[in-house]
Structures are given as C-alpha cells and as structure tokens.
Amino acid sequence: MNQTLLLEMKQITKRFPGILANDRINFTLHPGEIHMLLGENGSGKSTLMNILSGIYKPDGGEIFIKGRKTIFKSPRDSIKARIGMVHQHFKLIDTFSAAENIVLGTHKNFKLNKNDIEKKVYDLAKENGLEVSPRAKLWQLSVGEKQRVEILKLLYRGAEILVLDEPTAVLTPGESRDLFSNLKKMAREDRGIIVITHKLHEVIEAADRVTVLRSGKSMATLEQKDFSQEYFARLMVGRKDIFSFSENITLEPPGEKILELNNVQALNENGRLSLKDISFNIRKGEIFGVAGIAGNGQRELAETITGLRKCTSGNIHLKGENITNMSPSEINAKDVGHVPEDRVGTGLVPGLDIINNIMLKGYKNSFSRGIFLNYKKAFSKTGEILNEFDIKLGDPSGPVSLLSGGNLQRLLLAREMSSNPALLVAVYPIRGLDVGAIESVHRLLLEQRSNGTAILLISEDLEEILKLSDRIGVLYEGTINGILEKQNADLEKIALLMTRVKNTGEINS
C-alpha cells in the first residue's frame, strides 16, 4: 500500500471569521483507491477539498502531489496538477450545451468543431456509463444529469484525482449504485477518487478507506477491515443514539382533503409533456410520498402545484378551492410552503444576508407594515429560526452563500416550515444533510403532520419515503404509476413501479 502517494495533505489548517473550519488535518490518497470523507454538516469537508482544488488558500499545512510539494495559487494550478472537483453546487453554464460545458476551457485553438466535440463527448460518456445527451442545453437537464456533465468534464481534462462533493445527494439509490460502480472502474486506471458523503452505508459499500471529520478535526482514517456504521457514527457525532428513530408517532386519522390533483398535465422546458394525467390527493395531517427516479417529473410536479409552472390541462384544488394556474404569490398566500429542488438561487438568494432571506416568502404579509418592511419582526423571527433549527453561522450580516451546504438547507426548510403551512411541498428535503440533521428534519416533518399540515414529500431516498409516508405514489415518465398504502408498501414494490411501465392491479391500490 505504501508506494508513491497520489496525494498527501499535511496539517492543513483553514480559519474563517469566527470559525476554525480545518484544524491540522492530514489526508492521503493512493492511486486506485476511493477514499471517502465523512462528517456532519459544517465539519469542514468542503473546505478541505476546496483547498485541494485551489479555491481557498490554507492558513497552514502542505500539499504533496506524487511526492512533490505543490502550492496552489489558484484553481488553475490545481487543474494543472490533474485534480478535478465536482462541487456541491454545480458550476456550469446554463445556456451552453452539455458538450460545450464539458470542453469549455480546454481547447487551445478556436477550431471547435461541433460535431467532433459532440462525438467525443458521446464516446466518453458511453465509455464511463455516464449517459447524457451532448446536445441538450444545461438548463434543460435535471440535477442528476448535470452531475454527469460535471464528472465528464473532469474526465475530459484527464483528471487523476477526482473529488466529488456529496455526489449521491442528488441521485436515486439505483443511480448511486451505478455511480459507485463507475467510480470503481475509473479508480482502476490509477486514478484516485475522493468522495464526500453523509451516508454511512455508502462508505461501507464503496470506500477503500474513510477519513472522518468532526468540527474541523480529523477523528480517524479507517481501513476497510475497521468499517462499521456504529463506529463511524460515534466518530462523526460523538454519540451513539442517532439511529434510534422515533418511528410511530401516534396519528390522528387523516382529515379532509387539502390538496387534490385531477388529470394534471404540464410541459417541461423543451415543450414536451412531462406530467401526463396526474391525479392524487393529500389529506390533512398526511404525508404523501412521491418516489421515482430523478427526471421523471418530480420538479415539474412541485412547480405546477406551487404555481411556478403552467398546468396545461386538468385542475388542482386546495382546501376545495380551485387554484389551477393561480400565480405563485396567490398560492403562497394560501399557506403553501415550498422547498424547491434548487436551493441556492431559487429557494434562497445567495448574495443576500440571512434576514433578507428569511423575509423572502413573508415580505408581503408577515414582515411588512403597510408598504414598508418590518425588519424588527424579521430580526426576531431570524433569531427564533436560528435557535430552533440549530443553524450555525459565522457572520450574521454575511451573505448566506457562505453557509455550509447543510446549514443552507436547514435555513430553507426552517423558513418554509415555520409558518405552519396548510400544505408543504418538500422536494428532496434531506439532500445533503448528515444523519443527525436528517433525523431532525424527519422529526420536524412528522411534527408538521401532527399539526395538520398536508405534506407532499418528493424524495429519491426510498427509505425516507417508506419511513415517513402514509401513502406513496410512484412517478414514472410523468405519470403516477401506482399508489401504495403504507402497510403494503415495500422497497421492492416501489422499485418495480419506478422502473416498469405498467403495474398489476394487485399493486395498484
């Protein structure tokens, strides 16, 4: 195992105002291995990798690439050292095609022959099992597809050290499995791969080694033989009880219908029918889980209900009132909370501070006095939310883009839940959260449910769906392929409905 290391990071230290994000961290990477970084939200994982990719300068410590000491003055130096990173929030150009994004910045001459490039990208994609249409514009792709573009971009540049920041946060279990088997293949060609993750089982399934971070410190680096979920959890959070999930909160029987969709249709960005004839309802105090492989209409479903997308046929009722094609602000005003798929840039405004983000939904009602904003109220609400939802931030007047991925998400969830909505549309609410945070989000969702909120939970995590939902609808190519009651749902049935065109009458209840 001790041949030349691909990468060695020694005593890396990074300080941000008010926080020590990395505290003398040591980290190594062998050729051919998958080395995972595990840690709670805000433990410093992204920071460490951002140092490796030259985005941040460390305050202390050294980096050796293949034994040679290297100083990164900029991301470009890091790319030159054949390091490539897929960030937690993607950095692609929306109006360019997938192929253009992949080759962007690599060609030394102007001879960018479109066909050649598309061919090359297509082959590269095929070879690595990362299917994506080279011609599609980025804004037309789902988050999962965008991720494939990001990875292809790195391969195209010949990256030898691949860093993926929470790659499976945006994938379904099936897609994750594919990704890891592809990563294993890629590693075989003497690449080293670093994967940041929250999911303990992924470490066990796919990692060769794992380094666990807690509050900026490296707790341990473990070899495969020492892997165990309990041990990881203890290292991550310093306590063991995180798996005890308060499963069956006693329920009121679900009440009246809050949300009702009848034969709803909607188009996607390309003008193609992406919701075909969707019908279901959600009752008061009920969680309706929507399972399905990403890109089968999840985003469109959430947007159509919240008024952000036109419903081309069919109708939507909220508490008996027809809200089909009402404006988003009218629907907002009817107590509908929405946690969108795209958090930074839609759910939150990255450049503004936390108070301005807290006001985003309620600025017209809760946080206003006539035509004026009521900062005082927003300020106290912000304090409440930070406390209640345990959001850590260094500088309250700084832009929220400086929050860690997990804290960003908690902030958004907190805002949408704090108004006790009648309906909450939550799209991938636990994406990117660590175990502890997931548990707290789940508890919050269940609490919301006991408060009588109807919840539409769109998720790619089948365990989450099974755990929380009262009923489960499975989306497949824009239709609800079947609706299962909690008691007769299991992973297999759902998985079947997720991937197969038609279901038997037995499954369809």
Binding site: P17, V103, H107, L308, P340, G351, I371, F372
Partner: protein, 366 residues
C-alpha cells in the same frame, strides 16, 4: 472565449472578507492610478500632465465660481444618476437617460410656454409633473418589449436617445422656435415664474435640494419598502423572485418608468434651473455620464451624491482645460479611465488577483 482564459496570465480568486481598510484605500488608489494612466495619454499627445491637472484643479477649486459651477453641473448628474440606478439595480440597463432628459425637458417647456405668466406655485409643479411623465413614457416604450418579449433594452433605449434628440431639434428649429430669436434654434425664454429658485445670486438652484431629497428617499425606498425589496431580489436572482411570487413583468415596467421619470425630471430641472428655455444640445451628454456616476456610486443613492460632485468637478475642470486649447476629449478620456480603474479596483477588494509567474511562450497580445 475558451482561449482568453488560457492566455491571460492572471487568475482571479474570490476573497472571503474584504477588509474595511481596503474598501477605502482601494478606490483612492484607483483614482490616483487613473490620473497616472491619463498622464500617459497627455504625454503621448504632447501635453504636460502636471499642467493639465493643475489647470483642472485650480479651475475647480481655485475660485468660488469653480466650486459653484461644479455644484451646478453635478445637479443633473445626480438626478439622472439616481434615476438610472433604480433600473440598474434590477439589471435593467437603461442607457436611455439622455433621451429621457430631452423628452422631460420638452414637456416641461411646453407647459412653461403655454402657461407663461402663471404663478410659480402652479407652474413649477406642473412642469415637474410633465417632465416626469414624458421621461416615464419614453422609458415605457422600450420597457414593454423588454418585459413581455425579452427584447434587449440596451439597444432600444439607446436608439430612442437619437429619436428624442432629433425630435427636440425639430421643435426648436421649427414649431417652437422663438420668433424674436434671430433664427437661433431656441425657444423663447421662460417667464420668471417658470424658473426654479436659486440660492443667493449664484447659479445653484433648487435642483440640488430636489436631488438630495430624492437620494435620501430612494435610499430609504430601496432598503425599507416592500417594493425596494422586490427590486433587490429580482436584481439578484429572477428564479428566487419568481419563487417568492413576485410579478417580474410588472416590476420591469414600473421600474423602467420610474427610472425614466426621474431622468425626465432631470430635463425639467435643467431647463427650468439653468437654461430657462429649450435649445438643441442643452445637455452635453448628462444621461451618458450619469451611467458612470451611478455605477461608480455602486448604485447606492447616497454614494451617488459624491460621485455626481466628482464628475461635476471633472466637467468644470474640463472647461478650464479647454480654455488652454487642450481638447476636451482628453477629459472625456479621463472620465472613462476613472470608471475603468475604480470598477477594476472594486474587483480587487472582492477578489484576489494573482499574476502567474510562469514563463510565457511569447505569443502575441490580444
């Protein structure tokens, strides 16, 4: 596109915390740099930079007249800068300030000429209203295709400047020409009641008060009102604005009209406070200079007061230089380089720029 990023030997990296010291020192340093940069051109064209700068300096600060004129010139820059900043905040690039100034001035003139002799309390508010409405309408024309069809407003607002300027040319050469004006392209002089009051016996007029009040109101408006909040959100992220239920189409129209109305008011203030009639070319490009004024003030209404005075001074200094037979285009060049360096300096406060010290393979420039 791909190529530039590979050849330019610098890299730009986001800085995390711009220190307060740099945010004062950097603009100052940038101004000095732009003066040095200007001197290169002066030297190339055979002029003595020291002489030019001292002429400019004494032109502005050397006499009461210079200081007063600086303030006089800064009034339209302040007003128009404020007007444009509203639109810029929302990423609407209203380049049409100049045309809106002209239209506002024409509408105010129409009131002044037709209601000549009416008392000031009636005439001045009416003129302001007319100026604002005309400027607003002039901005509404490009706003509608922008809001509904996404037609680029930079082009349309710019084109409308020419229409407005030639339209005023037509008016003062034709129907509105002063019969007793010895055939000059000017209207007759406004009656006294159509003049904005002045301070003492200087040329500084009530426009300065309007400008300062407007700046304060605007600052308050952007920070404290729901409408201002919407402008800030839309300017930052249209997706988030849509998600929050904001009506972006309507806001584009309202904000463009507001922006145009303030520019129209600028035209009224200029004809009523200084020119006292309409004449062709009465604005030496205030609507364009105001673009620089607004950006240099980082779209902050209170900062725009300062940048307006700075550019008022540059204008006056420019006149002083002109007296020495140095072409005024030199001063225009200075304005441009000021914008370049100060905005460049701002990038410095927010990003860290590093020079790559690898030996380049000596390829040609650009």
């Amino acid at each position: 596109m791909t190529n530039y990023s590979n050849k330019i030997p610098i890299t730009i990296e986001k800085k995390l915390t711009p220190s307060p010291l740099t945010s004062i020192l950097v603009p100052l340093f940038s101004i000095i740099l732009s003066l040095l940069f200007g001197s290169i051109f002066f030297i190339i064209t055979g002029n003595d930079p020291v002489e030019i700068y001292s002429v400019m300096f004494s032109g502005v600060f050397g006499s009461a007249y210079g200081i007063i004129e600086t303030i006089v010139k800064s009034i339209p820059l302040l007003l128009a800068g404020l007007g444009l900043s509203i639109a810029f905040r929302m990423q609407l690039f209203n380049i049409g300030g100049e045309g809106q100034i002209y239209m506002g001035a024409a509408a105010a003139t129409w009131i002044a000429l037709n209601l000549a002799g009416q008392p000031a309390w009636l005439l001045l508010p009416l003129m302001m209203l007319a100026g604002g409405v005309a400027g607003g309408i002039w901005a509404l024309i490009p706003a509608i295709p922008r809001a509904y069809l996404g037609v680029n407003e930079i082009i349309t607002t710019l084109m409308l400047n020419y229409v407005a300027i030639y339209w005023i040319d037509y008016l003062v050469h034709g129907p509105w020409k002063d019969p007793d004006g010895y055939n000059f392209p000017i209207t007759s002089t406004f009656s006294n009641t159509a003049h904005l009051p002045v301070i003492g016996d200087t040329r500084i007029h009530a426009g300065i008060i309007i400008g300062i009040i407007l700046a304060v109101i605007l600052h308050f408006f952007i920070q404290q009102t729901k409408f201002g909040y919407e402008i800030r959100i839309i300017g930052q992220s249209q997706n988030a604005a849509r998600y929050a239920g904001m009506n972006i189409v309507r806001k584009i129209i309202i904000v463009m009209v507001l922006s145009g109305a303030v520019c129209g008011l600028t035209g009224m203030v200029e004809v009523s406070g200084i020119v006292h009639r309409l004449q062709s070319g009465f604005s030496p490009g205030y609507g364009y200079t105001a673009i620089i004024v607004a950006w240099l003030g980082r779209l902050n209404p209170l900062a725009i007061i300062i940048t307006a005075v700075l550019f008022g001074g540059l204008q006056v200094g420019g006149y002083a230089v002109q007296m020495q037979n140095i072409p005024v285009s030199m001063v225009m060049m200075l304005q441009g380089s000021l914008l370049f360096f100060v905005l460049g300096g701002e990038i410095l406060t927010r990003y860290r720029i590093t020079l790559k010290n690898r030996s380049s393979q000596g390829d040609g420039i650009s």
